[in-house]
Symmetry: C2
Subunit: 161 residues, 2 copies
DNA sequence: GGCGGCAGTGATACACTGTAACAAACCCGC
DNA sequence: GCGGGTTTGTTACAGTGTATCACTGCCGCC
């Protein structure tokens, strides 16, 4: 689902995402530290993919600087837990809105107009990929599926305007 | 097809790739300059994806330095002509072994053991992707499909060893 | 209480990847 | 030869990510 500005309730708002992150950490015996929480919040609040340096800047304030390296560490942790995803084509990060299994075939739909990123999963797509890989004799470990284009909302807006 | 070390004949060897590049440029009225040729050759010779800085170093010699920026320009040109591809997950480049249409749905199979990269295209995969996008109301412009794993040759080698 | 290990964080420096800007060289038709 | 477009050289810089070490806070143990 596409994230519109000011309308994030489709797949859970920021509070839900934070609650899920906290629950995941607790049930796995991991620490959901203040820094990790702040990074998770920054990623969840933004309507579009955030760069690590953007997050660092956002979390910094006069007298309290958060270095990018700290953000990267928090992001690495959150990615390992499946709470955020990295968008390779943008060098940026988004919150996982679905809570799917790790390694599950998910394709990211990146709107080049509004910058929003949506996750879509599909049995059919996954089947097609599996068969293509099998035919090539290739054993997959991890896949990156990213499509850039225009989301429905932006396309309507363009046709109307 | 996976490129093994010392065995690049599956989809055309280096000479074939260079000949194709030259032909493409000639028929489009574009210049296949010495630099572009050298970059194409460097990418085609390597059995695995090459970084721009690797290429720059490879082409440099005592007394003749090739700056990375020149390599990037040559790579941009070659990519526009569909002669090389960029592997987003590696920040590296490979020669196109197939000569397919630009924008055609091709998935890159990246072997994490030997580093070789293969291109596979599949009607089924493309159908699955198209339907997934249509269902999400998303209009694609460009897609990145990359799978990391183990190629058949490396998997056999591991089982045998 | 003191002590030692461990995870997390801060801080600096650095490596890697890519681009902007401008000058020089080159090519080609006039 | 000249003018204009293309290609390349050169420098500097921005953006992205990692290595390293020191420090802190916490918890279990003596
Ligand atoms: Zn997700
Ligand atoms: Zn949009
Ligand atoms: Zn190709
Ligand atoms: Zn391999």
């Amino acid at each position: 689902m596409h994230r519109h500005e000011g309308h994030d309730a489709c797949h859970g708002d920021v509070a839900d995402m934070l609650a899920r992150a906290e629950a995941v950490c607790r049930e796995r015996g991991l620490q959901f530290t203040p820094l990790r929480r702040e990074v998770m919040e920054a990623v969840a609040e933004a309507g579009k993919a955030q760069g690590a340096y953007d997050i660092a800047e956002k979390l910094s304030a006069p007298g309290k600087r958060v270095a990018p390296v700290s953000v990267y560490r928090a992001l690495d942790f959150l990615m390992q837990q499946g709470l955020v995803h990295r968008i390779a084509s943008r060098n940026a990060f988004i919150p996982c809105a679905h809570g799917h299994a790790p390694g599950e075939g998910v394709v990211f739909l990146i709107c080049r107009t509004c910058g929003g990123v949506d996750e879509a999963s599909s049995e059919m797509l996954e089947d097609g990929l599996d068969r293509t890989l099998k035919r090539a004799g290739f054993t997959p470990a991890h896949s990156i599926l990213e499509v850039e284009g225009d989301c429905g909302a932006c396309r309507e807006r363009q046709q109307a305007g």
